[in-house]
Symmetry: C2
Subunit: 259 residues, 2 copies
């Protein structure tokens, strides 16, 4: 099995090192990750400026390719030019901090895996649910197990797995559950401050507010110390509304005036 490993925390983060090491036990692993941290970049891709790639060494040994771009760039460029062929699997992570609910839209970690799914390559995004996480060994084992499961059962084209692991020692983990994306939302607050030159600036802060308590959602699962595995895709069509909008009478055929 050939696995491309990437992330959004940057090629030198502890999470990607633990992930790559664990996957090397079952696969031929190539690390292609952002040169610098790229959190919350969403699904940005670089088009207006060129991308550069450098060989990144760790303790004097080649560890992987560092791309001066976004996580999605790493996957696109990695598959097209560095590997030159599709790997069997792309795994993105292990992210510091959960990627649940609406955060999967902002997340660079998830976007890298989504870019792989767009390219018809099975993919997994994996995060540990704490920004202060320092021990990625358990999450790395989970990634390895799920890589084998994806290889065994396969995913439909365009579907990826978004995995969140509670930040607790293995013996305190409650279990594992297949989940849906939670509807929890950010209660955003922008702090307004004044800089030393008298100009105002705004700084984003806030907290994620739960709106449901169903164990089968990503957010509730990790709160209950379950490993959460959510299958997601990128068909954003709201089919219910698609059908309901027929009654809006905005559809016009040829020879009918639209406005």
């Amino acid at each position: 099995m050939k696995i491309l490993v990437t992330n959004d925390d940057g090629i030198d983060s502890a999470g990607i090192v633990a992930l790559a090491e664990s996957l090397k036990e079952i696969a031929d692993v190539t690390v292609i990750a952002p040169h610098d941290e790229q959190s919350a970049v969403g699904h940005g891709i670089t088009m207006k400026i060129p991308l550069r790639v450098v060989n990144y060494k760790m303790n004097g040994t080649f560890f992987g390719y560092a791309v001066e771009g976004t996580p999605a760039d790493c996957v696109k460029l990695g598959i097209r030019n560095i590997l030159g062929e599709s790997p069997d699997l792309v795994i993105s992570g292990i992210n510091h901090g959960s990627n649940t609910a609406i955060n999967i839209i902002y997340s660079g970690t998830v976007s890298a895996a989504r870019e792989a799914a767009i390219m018809d390559v099975p993919a997994i995004a994996i995060s540990v649910a704490s920004h202060d996480a320092s021990d990625f060994r358990y999450a790395a084992k989970v990634a390895k197990m799920l890589a084998l499961k994806v290889n065994e059962f396969s995913l439909p084209k365009g579907t990826l797995l978004n995995v969140n692991v509670p930040n607790f020692p293995e013996e305190e983990i409650s279990g594992m559950i297949v989940t849906k994306q939670s509807k929890a939302k950010w209660d955003d607050i922008y702090l307004k401050r004044t800089d030393p030159y008298g100009k105002d600036y705004y700084w984003l802060t806030g907290s994620l507010v739960d709106v449901e308590n169903e164990l089968e959602t990503d957010q509730t699962a990790i709160k209950n110390k379950f490993v959460s595995v959510t299958p997601i895709h990128f068909d954003l069509t709201d089919y219910d509304t698609f059908h309901k909008m027929k009654s809006w009478k905005i559809e016009k055929q040829k020879n009918e005036k639209v406005i």
Copy 2:
């Protein structure tokens, strides 16, 4: 009706000016848009650095608030701090270039509208299907008509409309159709070049490849000169796979070992 107008091409682009002027005929319009062009930034938000806002004048008259951030930042900060309340509608555009198929994931224009939907504010993203578009009058009329329709019929919370307008004179437009997101994909190519100092760099190019010919998809609709209106949402759960994964037997309850 209070409408917040934003975009990703920047506050000084022709598309947003045409949009704001058209909407002022039916609503109280506030323009809050990126200071600089933000195409293909995806759903990035700014957290690590502060945001600044400047009053932007056009021909000596106040036109709107220019935010030194992403389109999603404009909507978040605009609603939370500049307006201080939810508008009745957010409209993002008019973008130079279509936002169909997978491009809606990369698009800053769509992400701004999606950020509004996340905040429970009805939203429309609108694009003209040519990067060389210069006449936005027809698309601006379409935006105005759809703003009134959304006001009349309302959208479910979390749903937005993604509108694409063919780049043709009004008399050549075939009609208008409610569509689904097309499955068309990018055939990406990275050109590899060498800089004047002997270092390699990669530049993304490529073309969107159609995979279907159903008029009720965004991509096919605009190719046939129809205005395309796609309802989209941000629940990315793949419910089919969610149910099928029960057979993977990865779910473990308390007191069962996960791995």
